[in-house]
């Protein structure tokens, strides 16, 4: 049985796992980093199964390498599938990017060139994963620090074409849109306004770091004012989409994270009032 996911949740991090297991926290839902729970029979899975009894969950992965031209890693997909079948999360997401190629894995999210060739390739891979998992996949836009010479369209046109061709859903990372908009000098509202409303299942928020020459998506700070403003615009357009606070670097105490999630809920309430 799957608990419904709604409202504003937080990403589950190991620092907080004992607190969350030991006491009933007022958290609307939790998102796990799927990749941390893929060892069958491990203590990590043991924690997860306990948490799954008490909180609605979503799975967020980084290792599917959907844009890679290597063959799909079937062991990875089948481990994700086994966990999905055991825990039954509300949905499963990964990123519109590549992380591995030629047998080497970066464990990082690298953007794709925005071309017709890439659209065909990635949408076919997403379909393959959806068929294997027997589930729709939710695809997240990544933050990026470069643009390829051969890209022939905007990131949002690329994203829309991929989700249309693969018939999958979107995890819209509003912070990533803002970071990429600053790094590549485009209008973040143009991005938001191009996204098909009915496909947006989830929104991510996080804090970036200003490196002077570029913004870096470190997930190590509170959500910036500019991203809160863009989030309000997103809620205006997409409605009360479940929203998640991601915090991975300098992870604060649980109450700080929950306060950030509460702030997102306030924005939703204010905009939709």
């Amino acid at each position: 049985m799957s608990h419904p996911v709604k409202g504003c949740g937080i990403g589950l991090r190991f620092q907080h796992i004992d607190t969350i297991v030991d006491s009933n926290q007022p958290i609307p839902w939790l998102e796990i980093l799927t990749d941390n729970y893929l060892l069958p029979g491990s203590v990590q899975q043991d924690y997860l199964f306990e948490i799954a009894e008490h909180y609605p969950l979503t799975f967020h992965g980084v290792g599917m390498s959907l844009g890679s031209t290597d063959p799909l890693d079937t062991e990875y997909v089948s481990r994700v599938k086994a966990l999905v079948e055991r825990v039954n999360p509300a949905w499963v997401s990964d990123h519109l990017c590549w992380t591995s190629a030629h047998g080497v894995v970066t464990h990082d999210l690298i953007p794709l060139p925005y071309t017709e060739e890439t659209i065909r390739h990635v949408s076919q891979r997403i379909s393959q994963v959806q068929d294997s998992l027997e589930r729709r996949l939710v695809i997240e836009n990544v933050s990026s620090y470069l643009q390829y010479q051969q890209s022939a369209m905007s990131e949002w046109d690329f994203l829309c074409a991929v989700v249309e061709a693969a018939d999958c859903d979107i995890l819209l990372d509003v912070n990533n849109i803002y970071v990429s908009a600053c790094n590549h000098d485009f209008d973040p509202l143009a991005y938001l306004n191009a996204i098909p409303v009915q496909r947006v299942r989830e929104i991510h928020l996080a804090g970036y770091e200003d490196r002077g020459t570029h913004l870096l998506d470190t997930h190590g700070y509170p959500v910036s004012d500019a991203v809160w403003a863009l989030y309000a615009q997103a809620i205006q357009r997409f409605g009360a989409v479940p929203t998640l606070i991601e915090w991975d670097n300098n992870v604060p105490e649980l109450p700080v994270l929950l306060a950030e999630a509460a702030k997102a809920a306030e924005v939703q309430a204010r905009v939709l009032a």
Partner: protein, 89 residues
């Protein structure tokens, strides 16, 4: 061989007794210096699993191969930790 049979009988009896008496209590365990989950979770790493999340906040672009330096850490505090050892073989 007969001796070994006696040893085996005693061993099986010991196994039965150990099983019946249960494992050591938490207090006894503590005495023996074991680590509980606080330390252990250092091995459970979230940040590598979230993309740019840990994109090395103070990361410099090191030139591989040009950096052979002397370690300057706690190894210096250990007597004989950094001095030349007699190499056997």
């Amino acid at each position: 061989m007969n001796m070994n049979k006696q040893v085996m009988a005693a061993a099986l009896m010991a196994l039965g007794m150990a099983a019946a008496s249960g494992t050591l209590s938490a207090g006894e365990e503590k005495m023996e210096m074991e680590k509980c989950s606080g330390i252990v979770k250092a091995g459970m790493n979230d940040c590598g699993a979230n993309g740019h999340a840990c994109a090395g906040q103070s990361k410099a672009d090191n030139e591989a191969g040009e950096w052979i330096k002397v370690p300057k850490g706690t190894c210096e505090k250990i007597t004989g930790g950094t001095v030349v050892e007699d190499k056997k073989g």
